[in-house]
Subunit: 406 residues, 2 copies
């Protein structure tokens, strides 16, 4: 297949590109490299030393003989170029990772909120419009998030995208209706994924676009089989307060003797998946494309759930790190249960890597190995969800006053 990987320079997109290329697909990476620019804006860098995308593609070609094509293109602001590119390349499948993906970054300032909505909504909508306009019949696989549901539900298991409800009709009879599982996003970033859902629903219904939406949990882990093949193929690893996801942050905090920063009680339950399973899930989703006219196919792409404080304890036991309980910069429920159905991928044969198996590897192979590259001042979270909360959060666990870096 000819596959376009939008956002293929990112944390999930790069290993996915390698994985698909390794399977013999013709892979085209499309990226505006905005994520690298954001590193510059924030003054942070990936824990792992990461080469330019052009260099990484060259190395992969040398190593495997398989070409990886890179195209510098902004989905959100260059609609005409996007359409032309699709018309020329006519990919069979498109994997769409190309959005601003950090909740804390999306809540940083008003400018960051505006950027996140503008970038994510236009990227997704431009893509859908261009697919319809060019008439290419590609299968679109999009990365969504479990977070659209807002983690404060009635304690029901989260189904894969849809919910059957009963509505009383005019004759007083109860009629069944299938609806998108109602969303209650908790950040501007999560909100954009909730908007994406509505865009997908419309374009599937009106134009028969074939769409799979992967509601992904928090990704942990750094290496996949392919990224391990050469030092310069190494993947991005974010540890800073904006882009670092919770487990990656605990690992790096442990490695540099920084207390593990648990926000609030740590009673937040979240869903997780290893990066290697992310790339496998994308592969499985590609093989199971919906037909034109089908509703959007939604998978919960996660393999286990954990409370944040339990994760901290797990890492602490493994490394001896202390745990610091800090005020929560987010506006969210202090404690929540989370049960997620993931039968879709289980049925397709996914057998996941568990935290229990993989975690030690990350400690030794990644966080300890690159700990010397960490900038301690970038470890705390500084984005507060409201002005009120911003007024209350004052110190990081090392006793310094937290200030917004921008």
């Amino acid at each position: 297949m000819k596959i376009a990987v939008l956002g293929g320079d990112g944390f999930c997109g790069w290993p996915t590109s390698l994985h698909l290329s390794d399977q013999g697909h013709e892979v085209h990476i499309v990226d505006n490299l905005s994520r690298r620019w954001i590193d510059t804006e924030l003054g942070v860098q990936s824990l792992t030393p990461m080469d330019s995308i052009q260099e990484r593609c060259r190395i992969w070609k040398d190593l495997t003989g398989q070409a990886l094509h890179f195209h510098l293109l902004d989905l959100a602001t260059e609609y005409e170029r996007l359409r032309q590119w699709l018309a020329e390349e006519k990919p069979d499948a498109i994997i769409h990772f190309a959005e601003q993906r950090a909740a804390p970054y999306s809540m940083k300032t008003d400018r960051h909120k505006v950027y996140t909505v503008n970038n994510n909504v236009n990227a997704t909508h431009n893509l859908l419009t261009a697919m319809v306009e060019t008439g290419i019949d590609a299968h679109l696989v999009h990365l969504g998030t479990m977070g659209v549901y807002g983690y404060s539900s009635v304690g029901a298991a989260i189904p894969e995208g849809y919910l059957d409800v009963e509505i009383e009709n005019l004759q007083g009879e109860k009629k069944g209706m299938e609806i998108l599982y109602p969303t209650k996003p908790g950040s501007v970033y999560h909100m954009t994924k909730s908007l994406d859902q509505i865009l997908f629903q419309f374009y599937a219904q009106n134009d028969g676009v074939r769409i799979t939406d992967l509601h992904q949990g928090i990704v942990w882990g750094t290496h996949t089989e392919q990224t391990k093949r050469h030092e310069q193929l190494i993947n991005r690893f974010d540890y800073d307060g904006d882009y670092g996801t919770v487990l990656n942050r605990f690992l790096i905090q442990a490695a540099i003797d920084y207390p593990l920063t648990v926000h609030g009680t740590g009673g937040q339950t979240r869903a997780f998946i290893h990066l290697q399973d992310t790339v496998r899930c994308v592969e499985l989703a590609l093989k199971d494309a919906p037909k034109a006219g089908d509703r959007v196919k939604i998978f919960n792409q996660m393999t286990e759930t954990h409370r944040v404080r339990d994760l901290a304890e797990m890492v602490s036991k493994m490394t001896g790190a202390k745990i610091a309980y800090l005020p929560n910069p987010r506006k969210e429920a202090a404690e929540n249960d989370l049960i997620v159905k993931n039968d879709g991928f289980r049925d397709l044969g996914l057998s996941p890597i568990t935290l229990a198996e993989g975690l030690l590897d990350e400690v030794v192979e990644v966080s300890k190995k690159y700990a010397h590259r960490v900038d301690r001042s970038r470890v705390p979270c500084v984005s507060a969800w409201t002005k009120d909360i911003a007024g209350r959060i004052e110190t990081d666990p090392e006793g310094k006053r937290l200030k917004s870096v921008s």
Copy 2:
């Protein structure tokens, strides 16, 4: 009160501005005049001869002594100016009409789809962000549409925004949950209103923004008490295939001896409201503001429902016009029922103008009076919902081939 009317140069915004000014409020119109530019793009003009907004404001001042302030500002692309303007003016209430509002225009070409999403989502989101950032505590009243629900429901009455559903929790017990009534928008335009709902839900919940969303039916009628006071205060009246709403189009078709163009069977049932009631509803909504922390207050702003073919027959009986049944350019159910709850405004005392009372006035005072200004070639609808449909729709009722004007 100091009230900002965003989109105050438009069909609903202008009479609302006059109405509120007439009641002694300090009214500030904010508009980028994009709607006038679109007239130019399409080569159409309002049936009624409409002065510039600056001139209209001057005349109102001369007539009443009340100043109407006009500010040229694009909500979607000038975030910084918007924020600064809000910080300086600190309005007590903001009425948000400022979106691209025609479904056919939103489906015209890919460029129009992209424009509509970009304009509407960014306008609404920039406004919300700026309100939070400046900390002004204004009540936001937004104009939404009944059309977000998609007219193909199970035949249940559409409630005012929310639906109680039951979800089975992990213990197998049914738990009640209130959700936004599920949307299934049928055009890119309607889709943007569905996106707006999610933006409102988030900002009400995260930042306590006080929001009322008016899910409005199709507005008919031209005059209000205030626009009648001077010829040059006259309101916009759109009759073209993109912006003309169904009843206005029938009226003008009758006046120029053009067959009334019913799409499909005319079995589509739609909700209607007279312009005079629109401005009254906005006034009522302003008096009934939610409190900070409340969920978004949603009203169904409509007063009666009719099938399109019944409307055509009503106008035909009154004027002798013929009816032409044409292939439907939209992708929608051929026939649908529509029952809408509007207890909210009824309870606040709205006593509506019915079609039966008001229609003749429109025929005599408006459509006949200005019929000489009509361009027949702009009457047919040329925007098709899909490429498939575009291939099938070929002629207008006068036998000419329909081609997209853009």
